[in-house]
Amino acid sequence: MPLSTGELAALVARDIPAGSYVNLGIGQPTRVADHLTPEQGVILHTENGMLNMGPAATGDDIDPDLTNAGKVPVTELPGASYFHHADSFMMMRGGHLDVCVLGAFQVSVHGDLANWHTGAPDAIPAVGGAMDLAIGAKQVYVMMTLFDKQGRPKLVPKCTYPLTGLRCVSRVYTDLAVFDVGAGGAVVRESFGITREQLRQVT
């Protein structure tokens, strides 16, 4: 059976080593946070200047001065710290984050990432911190569906969308399979409701 988004998030969460410093980008990968256990002691980084970010804020806890990278109100955990943008991106670009988890339009079997721009001529370009995360974290995990809405694989021999980073992704988590990617190409780690033979045909 293909995994639901929640199941996929849980799978990613399980694979994050204890004590890691982790950035979950924006959007779907932020759901990984819901599946991290206190025992893991994972510390979340948000690009807008905070470590040890807590869950989304609700009700009276909402503070307009405390949001995540997606501008959603969040909370702080004991041992949090705040810092300015140059310091925050120093953490990202200087290789201090252990893991980041990003969404993607396409990932190549060699680890190239395309996740910031569809290439559509009328799109307004916007990159945010995606390129900094892609080249900076020690491990870049991508979390996405294996196929797009038109049924085309998003794990590809070569990205056709504008690139975010070169050879930066190490692992791709999809609803149908988990792959290691890199210099040697894609290797299936596990699959869900799809045979390895079927996977070989489509990727």
Binding site: K71, H85, F89
Partner: protein
């Protein structure tokens, strides 16, 4: 000598065609009152450097709507409520330079630190590095990036003392400390002004040397996007 009586006094003298660094990440840390004052002040043909390109109809979006901005240098213009920018952009009435967020911060820091240019790992091999110098150092590829210097920075902080030392609140800190270093004239709105010595010297985030004008402004109660 840094204290100003009103936001209008604080933004006096900003020239047409200035490069203005505007703090904030979305709404958090956006210097709303200074931007409103800048709209009243009338400077036009501005280049705005900010992470986003305005939300809703307030702050930076209001400045754009007033037609005062020629160019935006930012990392992420497109947001759920960036319709003012979106319309201007699609109408060809505003220039856009998209810069990776880390480059935006580091290029301003470089301006503040006297660095002439730096080799940066971000954006190598992507469209945002096209036409830029590259160099391989110790087996890794880098793109050469140049400083972004502001004529003016408009930022928001939580508290200032009379010497211009600043502390911020939570993630509203974001670009404020970096922009303060990178502009010829740094103008800060704060919720509170205290006497020198009231801020623990160990906790000062922006030392007063980077601050030229300080004005107290009521913290606006602005919407948080995600909380709508």
């Amino acid at each position: 000598m840094k204290l100003r009586e009103s936001v209008d006094e604080a933004v006096a003298g900003i020239a047409d065609g200035s490069t203005v660094l505007v703090g904030g990440f979305g709404m958090a840390g956006m210097p709303f009152d200074l931007i409103d004052a800048l709209i009243r002040q009338g400077a036009t043909g501005l280049t705005i450097v900010s992470n986003n390109a305005g939300n809703g109809d307030v702050g930076l979006a209001a400045l754009l709507k007033a037609g005062r901005v020629q160019k935006v240098i930012c990392s992420f213009p497109r947001q759920s409520d960036s319709y003012v920018f979106d319309d201007l952009y699609r109408a060809g009435r505003i220039e856009l330079e998209v810069v990776p967020q880390g480059n935006l911060a580091e290029r301003m820091r470089a301006a503040g630190a006297g660095i002439g240019a730096f080799y940066c790992p971000t954006a190598v091999g992507t469209p945002l590095a096209e036409g830029k110098e590259t160099r391989t150092i110790d087996g890794r590829d880098y793109v050469l990036e140049f400083p972004i210097k502001g004529d003016v920075a408009l930022i928001s902080a939580h508290r200032a003392d009379r010497l211009g030392n600043l502390v911020y609140r939570k993630t509203a800190r974001n670009f404020g400390p970096v922009m303060a270093t990178a502009a010829t004239t740094t103008i800060v709105q704060v919720s509170e002004v205290v006497e020198a010595g009231s801020i623990d010297p160990e906790t000062v985030v922006t030392p007063g040397i980077f601050v030229d004008r300080v004005v107290r402004a009521e913290a606006r109660s602005y919407m948080v996007e995600g909380a709508r």
